[in-house]
C-alpha cells in the first residue's frame, strides 16, 4: 500500500498557551513547533503497516518552509519522502483551503513520484486548533471513501478493513482504496527516531510545492470561516485549601464546607 500522511506542524502541546496581552494573539514563543500528536500516530500506523506488508509512506505538510523540520522527523521514523506546501498565504488558511491544497499536492506528488496513493491518512484533529475538519474535507474534495477516528487498518480483498473508535466500542468498516482515514490514538506510541535515522533524515531533500506547482494561481476560494480574534476563558477563582496533618480533621473541614455550600 502507498500511504500519504498529512502532517500539521503545531506548537508543542505540553506547553500551556496563553494570549500575548499586547497583541491578543496566542503567544507561541515558548512552544517549539512539532508534528501534531494524532499526525504522529497516523505516521506510526502507516509505517507499521508497510513493515508488515509492503509499500511506502510519504508525508506532506501545508504551511511554511519551517515545516521541513517536522517532515524530517517523519522521515527519521520511517517515511521515505516528504513535501511541504509553502507559498504566500499558505500559513493562514481555513480547513477547507488546507484540504484543497492537500488534494492538489497529493495529485502532484503522485505525478512526480509516478505512483498512486492507496491510503491518505490524517490525524483526527490537530492539537492547536482542534478542528478535526481537514481529513473529512479532504475525503469530500477527492470524493473518496472515509473512515474517521480509526485505530487499526488491515488489508482485505479489494481494499482495507478499518477499526473505528466510537463512544461505546469499535465499528468495523470495509472500504475500497484509494481512501481517506483519520487516526485516533492506537494502543501503542510512536517510535523514537534512532540516532542514525535522524542523522540521515537531516540530509533528506524536502521539496517545496508552491501554489503554481499545484496549478493554483491564487488562493481562489476565499475563506468561508473568518477568525475574529482571541480571548482568554474566564478564570475560576480558587476556594479554600485545607492543609491538616490529621486526615480526619481535613475531611471534617471539607465536608462542613461542602454542606455549607450546598454542594452535597
Amino acid at each position: 500500500m502507498e500511504f500519504l500522511v498529512c502532517v500539521k506542524q503545531v506548537p508543542d502541546d505540553s506547553v500551556e498557551i496563553h494570549l500575548n496581552p499586547e497583541t491578543s494573539t496566542p503567544d507561541l514563543s515558548q512552544a517549539d513547533p512539532e508534528a501534531g500528536a494524532f499526525d504522529t500516530y497516523a505516521e506510526e500506523l502507516a509505517v507499521r503497516f508497510i513493515e508488515e506488508n509492503e509499500g511506502s509512506v510519504t508525508v506532506v505538510s501545508v504551511g511554511t518552509e519551517d515545516n521541513k523540520t517536522c517532515i524530517k522527523n517523519s522521515i527519521a521514523v520511517g517515511a521515505s519522502s516528504g513535501y511541504v506546501v509553502a507559498d504566500e498565504g499558505t500559513d493562514c488558511l481555513d480547513s477547507a483551503q488546507v484540504a484543497d491544497l492537500l488534494a492538489a499536492a497529493a495529485a502532484k506528488i503522485e505525478e512526480q513520484e509516478g505512483k498512486k496513493f492507496d491510503i491518505i491518512l490524517c490525524g483526527k484533529e490537530s492539537t492547536d486548533a482542534i478542528g478535526g475538519q481537514v481529513g473529512p474535507l479532504l475525503a469530500e474534495k477527492l470524493n473518496l471513501p472515509l473512515v474517521e477516528n480509526a485505530v487499526e487498518i488491515t488489508s482485505v480483498d479489494g481494499g482495507i478493513s478499518v477499526k473505528q473508535e466510537t463512544d461505546t466500542g469499535f465499528m468495523m468498516y470495509e472500504i475500497a482504496t484509494p481512501a481517506v482515514v483519520t487516526i485516533s490514538k492506537p494502543d501503542y506510541d510512536p517510535r523514537y527516531p534512532t540516532i542514525r535515522s535522524k542523522m540521515a533524515a537531516r540530509k533528506a531533500k524536502i521539496p517545496t510545492l508552491s501554489l503554481s506547482d499545484l496549478g493554483i494561481t491564487d488562493l481562489a476560494s476565499e475563506a468561508k470561516i473568518s477568525s475574529l480574534g482571541f480571548e482568554e476563558p474566564k478564570k475560576r477563582q480558587a476556594g479554600i485549601k485545607i492543609n491538616e496533618t490529621e486526615a480526619e480533621e481535613a475531611v471534617k473541614k471539607a465536608m462542613d464546607q461542602m454542606i455549607a455550600d450546598k454542594a452535597l
Partner: protein, 322 residues
C-alpha cells in the same frame, strides 16, 4: 435564516445536548427545524416537538448495527435535506459521531464549518461563534460567510429550550445515491463494561495518577457509589489500565459540567482541566499542595487520597443517614 438542528437519541429520548441546539439557533436569530433520523424515534420526535416549531422525521434511513444512521448516510441526507428545506446551516451537538460528519455536510452545502462551539453572539447581523483552541486555554471567535454554517456545539453551552406549543412532526425522505455510501460497515464490537454517561451526570468522582493502582482506583468507585455519581478519570489513569477509556474526562475524552466534581489524585493538567472547568462545584484531593488543580477547586484538600477517601466515604454515609 433557517438552521436544521440534528437531534440524536439517548436512551430513546432526544439528547439534552441536541435540545440545547434549539436555544442556540434562537440566539443566532434563526428558525430551527429539528431533524430526527433514528429507527423508532417517533416518541422522541413528539418530545422534541414541544420545544421546536418544526420537526422532521427522516424515513428510509440506512442504519448501522446499533440502529443509528451511518455516517455516510447522514452526511448525504442532511446536506440534501438542507437544500430541500432551503436551510442556511445545520447545528449538531459535539458528539464524536457528529464531529465526524459536520465538515462533510458543510462541504456538500458549500459552506464553512465551526466545531466545538461553546457560545455565540450576534454582532451587527453576524453570528459570532466562540470555540476553544490550544487545549482550552485560549478561545477563538469565528464567523461564517453570510452566516451559512455547519456547527457542532458542546453540551451545556446553552440553556435547555423553553416548552412551547407542540408542533406536529412530519415524515420526509431524501434520495441518497449509492455513490454516497462508500464505507461498508461489517460489524460493531461493543466494549465490555457499563454505559458511562458522564455528560448528563450531576455528580462525577474522578481519579488520576495519584490513585496509584487499579486497587487504589477502587476508592474512587466506592465514593462514586456512595454519592450516586458517575466515575471519571484523567488520561494517566486510563493509560495505566485502571479504568476503561469511556470514563475519560478532558480534551481527549468527555467535556463535562456536573453540579459537583470531585477530583482525586488528579494534578490538574490542562488537558484534563479543560474538560471539567465548567463544573458547578469542584473538590480536589491531592498530596502535592502546589498541584494546579487547587487553583480551580472550591474546596482543596492537601493530603493522601488513600487516607482521605475512606474517611470521606464514611462521612458521606453519615451525612446521608442524617
Amino acid at each position: 435564516m433557517k438552521y436544521l438542528v440534528y437531534v440524536e437519541l439517548k436512551n430513546g429520548k432526544p439528547s439534552g445536548a441536541a435540545l440545547e441546539l434549539l436555544s442556540a439557533a434562537k440566539k443566532a436569530g434563526a428558525d430551527a427545524a429539528a431533524v430526527l433520523a433514528e429507527s423508532g424515534c417517533e416518541d422522541a420526535a413528539a418530545e422534541t416537538a414541544k420545544f421546536a416549531s418544526e420537526v422532521i422525521i427522516l424515513d428510509d434511513v440506512i442504519t448501522d448495527p446499533n440502529g443509528r444512521p451511518t455516517e455516510d448516510f447522514l452526511t448525504a441526507a442532511l446536506a440534501k435535506l438542507a437544500a430541500d428545506e432551503g436551510a442556511d446551516g445545520v447545528l449538531l451537538s459535539a458528539a464524536p459521531f457528529n464531529r465526524n460528519i459536520a465538515p462533510r455536510i458543510a462541504s456538500r452545502m458549500g459552506v464553512g464549518c465551526v466545531t466545538d462551539v461553546i457560545g455565540l453572539t450576534v454582532e451587527g447581523g453576524t453570528v459570532v461563534f466562540t470555540r476553544p483552541s490550544y487545549g482550552g486555554t485560549v478561545l477563538e471567535k469565528q464567523s461564517a460567510a453570510d452566516n451559512k454554517v455547519v456547527a457542532t456545539i458542546r453540551s451545556g453551552s446553552f440553556d435547555a429550550p423553553e416548552e412551547g406549543a407542540a408542533c406536529e412532526p412530519v415524515h420526509k425522505s431524501v434520495a441518497v445515491d449509492d455513490a454516497d455510501l462508500k464505507a461498508k460497515i461489517t460489524e460493531f464490537i461493543a466494549e465490555a463494561g457499563e454505559v458511562v454517561n458522564l455528560e448528563d451526570a450531576d455528580v462525577i468522582v474522578a481519579g488520576g495518577r495519584g490513585m496509584g493502582s487499579e486497587e487504589g482506583f477502587k476508592l474512587v468507585e466506592d465514593l462514586a457509589n456512595e454519592l450516586g455519581a458517575v466515575v471519571g478519570a484523567s488520561r494517566p489513569a486510563i493509560e495505566s489500565g485502571w479504568v476503561g477509556r469511556t470514563h475519560q474526562v478532558g480534551q481527549s475524552g468527555k467535556i463535562v459540567a456536573p453540579k459537583l466534581y470531585i477530583a482525586c489524585g488528579i494534578s490538574g493538567a490542562m488537558q484534563h482541566v479543560s474538560g471539567m472547568m465548567d463544573s458547578g462545584y469542584i473538590v480536589a484531593i491531592n498530596k502535592d499542595e502546589d498541584a494546579p488543580i487547587f487553583q480551580i477547586a472550591d474546596v482543596g484538600i492537601v493530603g493522601d487520597v488513600h487516607k482521605i477517601l475512606p474517611l470521606m466515604i464514611d462521612a458521606v454515609k453519615a451525612h446521608k443517614a442524617q
